[in-house]
Structure formats: C-alpha cells, structure tokens
C-alpha cells in the first residue's frame, strides 16, 4: 500500500530540475547536470553515476525482448468500481484519469515474446498507473500470463514496480495475492522457470506474493524493495532506518534476491539464465 505515502521517500521522486524545456536534468544521485536526451539515450540510467531512473513499461518491454517479438494480450481489460469506493475522488474517476494520462488501461502490460528466440510470457508493471497498484485486473492479467506459461510450457517473467495491493478494491485486491501465488504453485510443479525482476519500487502485497517467489529474484541497482513502506516502519518502531535499508543491495545482503543486474545487462542476463533453466 505504500505508494501513496512515498512522495518523500529517498529516490522515489525522479525530480528533474528542468532548465529550458527539460533540456537539462540534474541527477538526484550524483547531482551532475545531464542533457536529458543523453539520459534518455542511456535508458534512463545516469551516464555519470549509474543511478537507475524509472523507465516506462513499453520501454522495458523493448529492452528485454527480441525486436518485434512482443504480442500484447488481455490489453482491453479495465477495472470496475465494485465497492463504489470514494475518497476525495471516486475510484471510477481515478481509473478514468489514469487511463487518460498514460494510455495504459491498467497497471500491468502482459503478452508473449522471445528472448534470444526463447519464448516467454512477460508481464511488466506500469508504475505510472495508480502507482502500479494491484487490483482485480492486475491480478487477473498476471494469473493469465502464468497460466499461458503453463499451457504453452514457456518460462514466465514478471517485472514488478508497484506500491502493492490497490486499496480501492479492498478485499478483492488482497485476494489477487492468493490467486497469483496459486498459479505460480502450478508453474513450479511443472518445472517451468519463473524469473521475478524487482524494480524501483516494489512493496506491499506485490512483494508479498509473486514478486518474491521467483526461481530467480533479480533486482535493479538501488531499487526499493520491501513489505512495509519505510515510513510505516519508522512510525511503528520510532527509530531511524539503517543506511540503504530496503534497497536492492540490502536485500542481496540479507539473502532475499539472487542477483542485482544493471538495466543495460538485463536482457543478456535473462538469456543466459533461461538457456540453462529452460530446455524447450
């Protein structure tokens, strides 16, 4: 649930100090003044210090899959406001605004494609859609992706970037955790590889379900990964959090992820791993 509260979390906001129409970007990590176009050309990774900014889901798909191999599936699914949920805005309005803003119809894009000609089912979170939160649509699309992996006997790859379960669907969002994890149980029984890629940020109910269940858990450098959001923890224990807490490197140190991979190497690393785990 943490994404709503993370406006102040370190590194959460990719604050770009923009001089004439976004020509320059000041790196939040090394403070270098970068040409925005250089940053973009470098797949949103700072060419000076290697800080990984977020990338869009579409860009991620292009980065990981063989050119032209991606076929999007279940694209038309949209969330419905079953509970008639209303805070300052109705859930219905929030959905419509999110759709209008980014073009995605919900917080995950799914489909099939290939990595070095190895067929894969791929699900990529779109963090810009309501903080990548998981409601019925996200849970259903992820489950279908896993079930397609089972049916077609292909590996499954999920790239997470999410604040967790979507509050506006309350209990139904929670149930998506059980549903997706149950599908992974079936995939596991068949010995099909599941690679979970955790990117900044992955928290809450998404971490506490499929994101942590990879045969391989792979993370991007410095990605925030955790169950509870840092602020919730701070408020609960009333202590300062340790340096680097809940960052990818911290999780590696504590045995929760297998490997940290830089964005530019991600595709090659996936191909290498799949060539060993998957024999068609």
């Amino acid at each position: 649930m943490a994404w709503f509260k993370r406006d102040k979390a370190p590194g959460a906001a990719d604050k770009k100090v923009k001089v004439p129409e976004g020509l320059l970007t000041k790196c939040v990590s090394c403070k270098a003044n970068l040409l925005t176009k250089d940053l973009e050309k470098n797949i949103n990774v700072c060419p000076q210090c290697g800080h990984h900014y977020r990338v869009s889901a579409r860009q991620r798909i292009d980065l990981l899959l063989d050119a032209g191999s991606f076929k999007e599936l279940d694209a038309g699914m949209t969330s419905v406001d079953v509970l008639n949920f209303k805070d300052s805005k109705s859930y219905q309005d929030r959905i419509q605004q999110a759709v209008a803003k980014g073009g995605s119809r919900d917080a995950v894009i799914c489909g099939e494609g290939a990595i070095d000609a190895i067929p894969v089912q791929l699900a990529v979170f779109d963090f810009s859609f309501m903080g990548g939160s998981m409601g019925s649509v996200v849970g259903e699309k992820i489950t279908r992706a896993i079930e397609r992996g089972i049916e077609k006997r292909t590996p499954v790859i999920i790239v997470s970037a999410s604040g967790g379960a979507r509050m506006q669907e309350s209990i139904l969002s929670l149930m998506q955790m059980a549903k997706t994890s149950a599908a992974l149980a079936k995939l596991k029984e068949l010995g099909l590889p599941y690679i979970s890629i955790l990117t900044d940020p992955t928290t809450g109910g998404v971490t506490a379900s499929f994101s942590m269940l990879g045969d391989i858990n792979m993370a991007e450098p410095k990605a925030l990964i955790g169950f509870a959001g840092p602020r919730v923890i701070e408020q609960t224990i009333r202590q300062k959090l340790p340096e680097g807490f809940q960052r990818a490197e911290y999780l590696l140190d504590h045995g929760m992820v297998d490997v940290i991979v830089e964005r530019k190497d991600m595709r090659a690393k996936l191909a290498q791993i799949l060539s060993m785990l998957y024999r068609g």
Binding site: M1, L83, M167, A182
Partner: protein, 318 residues
C-alpha cells in the same frame, strides 16, 4: 463471561443493566418489583438485539477488536481436546504472535494454527499485539507441511492487525514468508478450513488464510488495509477510520456478498466477547460440518477446487 469493557454504543445497555441489578437487589421478596425486573431484563435483550442488528461498519471493527473477544487459545480450549502446542520455525525462532499445534476435533487429529493476541499489557507485548514476524509464518508453514505428511486437516484462526512492520521483519523476509505461504497453501493436499475470528488484517492475515472454506464470525472484519491506515493515506488523517471502514466494505456480510467467504458464523447476542462458550459451540458445529464435507473429496477435487475458488475472485470489464 460478561465483559466489563464497554464499547461506546453498548453504554445504554450497560446503564440499564446496572439499574436492573440495583432494582433486583432491593426487590428481595417483593413480587411486584420482581416482575418489573423480569420485564426490564427482556427489554435489555431487545435493546442489545436492536443495537447489534444495526451496527455500523466502524462499530463492527470495534467489536472485532474487543479485548475480551475469544482468541485462538480460547477456541482451542473450548473446541478441541489433546492440544499439543508446537513451537518454532527451525530457522530463527518462535513467534508468539502465532500459535500452532495438533489437537483432536471430535476425536480426530487436526493441525491448528492461529494468530494470538494478548489481554493484559504484559501479554499484549509478549504476543506482539498479534502481529507476526516472518518466523511466525514459517512456523505456520512448517506445521501445515507436517499436517500434510500425517494427513491431518488444517484449521486456521485469523485475528491480526497485520504482519509486523519492523526492521528485523524486513531483514528476515516478511514478504517472502507471506508469499511462500500463499503459494504452498494453494497446493497442500489436506483440507484447510479458515476462520476469520477477529481482525483479518491484510497480507498478515491472508498468509494463513488460503483454504477450501473461509468462514467469518458475524462481527469479524477482513480487508486489504486497516481503516486507520486507509484513512491516513486517503485523507491524511488516521482518525477518519469510520469513514474508511465504510469505504473498505470489510464486514462479513460485505465479503459474503463478494463471494470471498463461504459462511458467516453466528455470534451470541451482543458479540462473541459476551459468551465464549456459545461462540465456541457455534463455531465447533460449523467446523465439523465443513470438515466432513471436505473429507469426502478426493485430493484432486480438493486442490483444484481450492485453486478455482481463489481463481474466480476478481471483478473487471473487457
């Protein structure tokens, strides 16, 4: 046991009860007064009935959290025999916020797992307010896997504000522990009956709540986030719990309507905290009935049925 702790909306009932008591004390052999007392007692019951039939969601949250509400160990005492508590996850430690062990239900061995809260301050701290760390979930899984090996049905009691959000919990993989339970519970080959007895607090509840049957006590709650947490996020005001409780639709009737639970177990008049024995009796009957039905299924029917049960839990368009 009549509870001494009063919820705000129960106050009129308590006041009337006190007056009746006073009257009864002076009534002695006065027949007229005695009839009056009997009349008033009926009125109290009626009052309580009316109040509890019209509880708001926020009031139900308060009943679900009532300090005298039966906790897992109370149900174990009243429903089962031969309970042997088993401790530890064999990896790190023993979590006191989750209790587990084997026992007999009507003479048949079962595995019991449940959140455990405390009543006095010392016990609350000892139980970490019913908020488990990863070792609690790993203990739960160890016991569930043992149950599978020895062909014992599993019964879980859910009553937690949520999984503990702490540094140690994160370091030891709170998310992984919960996630693993979700995956493993989905494919266990023995019957699992889940009972939401009090607070069903998000992932911390779900981590022992994937079952073939999910029951909710009449005044229990179950949601993706606590009303206070939800309010803090949506209205930047943690005191707007009442509003959030309404929005979250977290009561047993709400969840029955959404087909997320199978049955609502009736509570005694005025809530489970007023009468542990009656509550336990009602629950005992429900558990026995569901286990009997589940035992008649083949392993394939059981596991695939459980998969399909959760598979269907979503609403979307397109």
């Amino acid at each position: 046991m009549a509870s001494q702790y009063q919820l705000e909306f129960e106050k009129p009932v308590f006041e009337l009860e006190q007056k009746i008591q006073e009257l009864a004390d002076i009534a002695a052999d006065n027949v007229e007064l005695k009839t009056e007392v009997a009349k008033l007692e009926k009125k109290v019951d009626k009052m309580r009935e009316v109040i509890f039939a019209n509880l708001s969601r926020w009031q139900m949250v308060q009943v679900a959290r009532h300090i005298d509400r039966p906790f897992t160990l109370d149900y174990i005492k009243h429903i089962f025999t031969d309970f042997v508590e088993l401790h530890g996850d064999r990896l790190f430690g023993d979590d006191h916020a989750i209790v587990g062990g084997m026992a007999k239900l009507d003479g048949e061995p079962v595995m019991i797992i449940g959140h455990q809260k405390g009543r006095d301050t010392k016990e609350k701290v000892y139980r970490n307010f019913g908020m488990p760390n990863p070792e609690g979930y790993r203990k739960a899984l160890r016991l569930m896997e043992m149950a599978e090996r020895f062909r014992m049905p599993i019964i879980t009691f859910v009553d937690t504000p949520g999984a503990y959000p702490g540094i140690g919990a994160e370091e030891r993989g709170q998310a992984e522990a919960i996630a693993r339970n979700l995956r493993e519970m989905a494919s266990l080959t023995v019957p699992i009956v889940v009972v939401i007895t009090g607070e069903g607090g998000s992932g911390g509840a779900l981590a022992i709540a994937v079952g073939d049957r999910v029951l909710m006590l009449e005044y229990s709650i179950y949601a993706v986030i606590s009303p206070e947490g939800c309010a803090a996020i949506l209205w930047s005001d943690g005191t707007k719990g009442a509003q959030a409780a309404e929005a979250l639709k977290l009561t047993a009737p709400d969840l029955k309507e959404l087909d997320v639970i199978d049955e609502i177990v009736k509570e005694p008049l005025g809530g489970a905290h007023r009468d542990h024995e009656t509550m336990a009796k009602n629950l005992h009957q429900a558990l026995a009935r569901h286990l009997k039905e589940l035992k008649a299924l083949s392993v394939e029917q059981l596991v695939e049925g459980r998969y399909q049960k959760f598979r269907k839990m979503s609403r979307f368009a397109g």
